[in-house]
Amino acid sequence: MYDLIVFLTLIALGYGFGQHAERKHFRSILEREKELKTLLCFSERRIPEQEVPVQGQLVSGSVVISIDYFKQFVAGLRNLFGGRVTAYESLLERARREAILRMKEQARDLGADSVWNVRLETAAISQGAQRQQVGSMEVMAYGTALIRKT
């Protein structure tokens, strides 16, 4: 009986805080993406010839994001039936976009116009740790920023 109350409280807390954080994060992502739209970003490995002298520099942005109790529970149930794990999809989408944004912010601070050869790396952080632990994951974005020589 008390286990059930604790469980439902955790679910409600996870849902309340998780959803609030997610909405707030998406708002911030959309806003900052608009702000950094003029800084272009490509996955292309070969940088096309430039008309002005430039120098390249490694830029990176990384984000660690944690799953809430609610998402963990829904994803656990999803494991039984299969299908889209939508609870994780939105989490990963946030992490990817945030990592790219942080990379772009670094590039902007260096005075770059564009970032090339952008790559994304993902790592699960608490995998292999205690099973009770809530999982969190890292997404890292890196690339070569092109900065005009002055």
Binding site: M1, D3, L4, F7, Y15, Q19, K37, L40, C41, F42, P48, Q50, E51, Y69, F70, K71, Q72, F73, V74, G76, L77, R78, N79, L80, F81, R84, T86, A87, E89, S90, L92, E93, S114, R131, Q132
Partner: protein
């Protein structure tokens, strides 16, 4: 740089717009229904298997599983006297129930202040001092509880409950590889809830048989409700809802006794 641009990527490709609670609801209902159906099926299977357990096998099983029941011969003389008194009461009541000779009823006494008594495998009943204190004003009240435990033995509830319990535990342990801890916790809670349903059914059946037995022995069931009144006063109003309980509510059990009493007095 000409020819390179970053077009706007439309939203909602990687993220569904569906409300998360909708998926949550669908999954919880689906999993819960699945577990309930499987738990009920396994429970029936366990009860079916338990019915094939002979009385001799049950007594032998109890001997192996509950060795503590045989170590109390060294108890104090006062406790021995109490035990003898309770055994006599049980034997008197058992006469009205036709309990088979292959399963002799053995009453044990415990000095613990727990206001309860219990019946277990192999015809063993444990009566606690707390119960004797609570029913010291009325023999009928003590007889009602004793008859209730005897009814469990007569109806072979301990064996059935064990069969159901093992079968459901087996089922739930197969869920151990699926999902994460949270899901297993949920599966265990739901699985246990189905066991409670059978537990309440058994208690109600034992109550009915006990009432009849007490009536046959004493010609009245007056005072039989004292134990439940005592128990319900102890609860301080903090009782979980019926679906989460192993026993029917005290109010319900008192009402049943009163109905029985009213019916009997009307018939005379």
């Amino acid at each position: 740089m000409n020819g390179y641009e970053n077009p706007d990527i439309p939203e909602g490709i990687n993220v569904t717009q569906e409300h998360p609670l909708k998926e949550f609801g669908q999954l919880v209902i689906g999993v819960t229904a699945l577990i309930i159906i499987l738990a009920l099926a396994f429970s029936e299977l366990g009860a079916y298997a338990a019915r094939h357990l002979t009385l001799e096998q049950e007594v032998a099983l109890a001997h192996r599983m509950l060795p503590a029941m045989w170590t109390e011969t060294a108890a104090e003389p006062a406790e021995q006297a109490e035990r003898k008194h309770l055994q006599e009461l049980a034997d008197r009541l058992a006469r009205h129930m036709a309990i088979p000779a292959a399963m002799p009823v053995t009453v044990h006494y415990s000095a613990e202040p727990v206001v309860n008594a219990m019946a277990t495998l192999g015809g063993h009943i444990v009566v606690y001092q707390g119960l004797l204190d609570a029913t010291k004003d009325s023999e009928t009240a003590l007889a009602m509880v004793m008859a209730h435990e005897l009814a469990h033995i007569k109806l072979r509830h301990p064996a059935t409950a064990m069969g159901r319990g093992f079968a459901v535990a087996l089922l739930l342990s197969t869920f151990a590889g699926l999902g994460d801890n949270v899901m297993q916790g949920w599966a265990n809670s739901v699985g246990t809830l189905t066991a409670l349903r059978y537990s309440r059914e058994q208690e109600a059946a034992a109550d009915s048989l006990a009432l009849e037995t007490v009536y046959r022995e004493y010609g009245t069931v007056k005072g039989a409700e004292i134990f439940f009144e005592h128990a319900s006063a102890e609860d301080n109003g903090l009782t979980p809802p019926a679906i989460l309980s192993t026993h029917p509510s005290h109010e319900e059990r008192i009402r049943k006794i009163q109905n029985f009493a009213a019916k009997e007095s009307g018939a005379e």
